[in-house]
Amino acid sequence: MILNDLVQIKTKELAARKKVTLRCCMAAGCMSSDAKGVKEQLENAVAQAGLENDVEVRGVGCMKLCCEGPLVQADPQNSLYIKVTPENAPAIIAALHGGTANIPQADPDAAFFKNQLGIVLANSGVIDPERIESYITVGGYEALHEVLREMTPRDVVETMVGSGLRGRGGAGFPTGLKWGTVAKSPGAKKYIICNADEGDPGAFMDRSVLESDPHSVLEGMAIAAYAVGADQGFIYVRAEYPLAISRLQLAIKQAKQLGVLGSGIFESPFNFTVDLRIGAGAFVCGEETALMASVEGKRGTPRPRPPFPAESGLYGCPTLINNVETFANVPPIYRNGAEWFAGIGTEKSKGTKVFALAGNIKNTGLIEVPMGTPLRTIVQEMGGGAPGGAEIKAVQTGGPSGGCIPAQHLDTPVDYESLGKLGSIMGSGGMIVMDDSTNMVDVARFFMEFCMDESCGKCIPCRAGTVQMHNLLEKILKRKATRRDLEKLEELCDMVKNTSLCGLGQTAPNPTMSTLRFFRNEYEALLQPDKYGPGGNGDTNRQPAAEAK
């Protein structure tokens, strides 16, 4: 495999292009609404109309407007059909020659699409994720070639530092710095792990990337492996994502066959193999030390850091762990240069971020926007606001580790620092919109229950503390709690946050703390007078002691 082979594949693919392309979304959301049947019927209809030479029916990855699926887009007509059924196929084909099909359509130029900037999702919904040729047509694996042939590992790390990319898994650690640490760590054997254990409930960005553009992740991993000196990579993917798993397996097989994975890639001395590890359902395995334990076939419990994985990780070797979206950002950075990437976004948060927009919002789906885009633009303009004329009450980001941002802060730009200031986190990119019918104490309880169930049980604050916090939240919701209980809850939040062993426990109190900060009145409205509290004499009319002071 040399560059010329890539170019040849690309040329051949481009030459075979037909006049009309019908892109059918084949991501998990649309697949659950019979997208497969739609595609088959479209192919039949094309055959029946004798248009095989003019029309290509292409299965593609996520086309983003998930709530309206299955989606089909006709190009160059620029018609986006929504909620397509297999029976609609003949009408869609008929409409290719002018006229209109009596099928609901969405405006491909609406704000939902126009405000997006595709870096990670540039190929999503465009290329066929099951064909490596389709990825090569859009410049795939050229960055890897360039890196292997023209750059030293040190250059590669420096470019990454210069791009300003920060980890998309949640904490936002500078990727270049991480690469540099692993590269410098002594050790003959090093590993790369792609964290695809997307566990936040309400997040499906990584799933979409893996289903829509698996090769970009593989290419990103290969570039990272070259930079840090690793020759073995693992992708740790959730068992709940069968489609992503099968597409990854296919992608790895194709990449091996073509020689962009394996030994002596692009006739360089660089070897790199990637293996899949299928998770088995444990949220805590998103934590890197727990994830490594799981890759080693053990119980996925975290261990204290330091030592960090960069020094001592998988099997005790220096290990680089990045998440799916981070790796997917890598090829475009080397294709277009660090300056290009650094020119997008804000001062401290570069590039774009993919969000999974869901909850009480009109347009649910996948969006990719430049860092710094105001929340209001995302939920009101792009998301279309809450359905049925309801008011948006809060936006939850960061899942069980994040917080609820109230409507009055909707003008906050989305970047690591701004969200942190509001007691939330960027997280992996789940964004759940809540309307005014949402009970915020119940939301806090929902997330606490999640963390309680997902606590691995190793350290006491998380194992026993989440149970107590959950019970206190239930007590509040049942209107049985007093001010003293609320104080206990707040004290526990602080304790569990500061003493837990890993990120799960350290962030478990976040949803509770952020709702306490912005929606305290909802908690207080549920409290009962503390009849027998400090100084209490059983008189219900008496002011609680805390207020009397």
């Binding site: 003293r484 503390d530 027998y532 100084g535 209490g536 059983g538």
Partner: protein, 164 residues
């Protein structure tokens, strides 16, 4: 009983305090304006609950006295049977383990209802001080009572705390 282990300190104590209510003081109702109450036992039934509420209302300083009051201890082992354990507890005690004449005690207004859950005292009302121990050693009682009498805020530490 451990209170009696205070020995000669009891004599000093008599001069300093009036004992107005106790299982061995002949008083039908808990009096008003009590300064200090040492509460023994876990809260197991409706009577305990009612009395505790009354005590809290009429007392300045409550001391949870002994493991049963502080932790609910052995009486609370029935909580492990889950909610609705009262039936099975009574069944076991008065029917299965009865030596003769098995029958459930029932007399409205006389036999108090068991609570669903046995609770330590401070789960029901605010408690100022805690003196655990099964029983609390006399030395600890003396330390606590002396501190209270001399007007300092009682504070037991390290060796002065004992469970079991």
């Amino acid at each position: 009983m451990s209170f009696l282990d205070l020995d000669e300190f009891l004599i000093d104590l008599v001069d300093l305090v009036d004992i107005v209510y106790s299982p061995v003081v002949d008083m039908k109702d808990y009096p008003g304006s009590v300064d200090v109450c040492l509460i023994e036992g876990a809260i197991c039934n409706e009577d305990n609950l009612e009395l505790l509420h009354k005590i809290r209302q009429r007392t300045k300083v409550l001391v949870s006295f002994g493991d049963c009051a502080v932790t609910a201890n052995v009486p609370a082992i029935r909580n492990q049977l889950g909610l609705g354990n009262t039936e099975s507890v009574l069944q076991r005690a008065y029917i299965e383990n009865a030596q003769d004449n098995p029958c459930l005690p029932k007399a409205d207004g006389i036999v108090p209802q068991l609570l669903e859950r046995v609770m330590p005292v401070h789960e029901v009302v605010h408690v100022e001080h805690f003196l655990p121990g099964c029983p609390p050693p006399a030395a600890h009682i003396k330390a606590l009572v002396s501190q209270m009498l001399s007007g300092v805020k009682p504070n037991l530490e390290g060796k002065q705390i004992k469970f079991g």
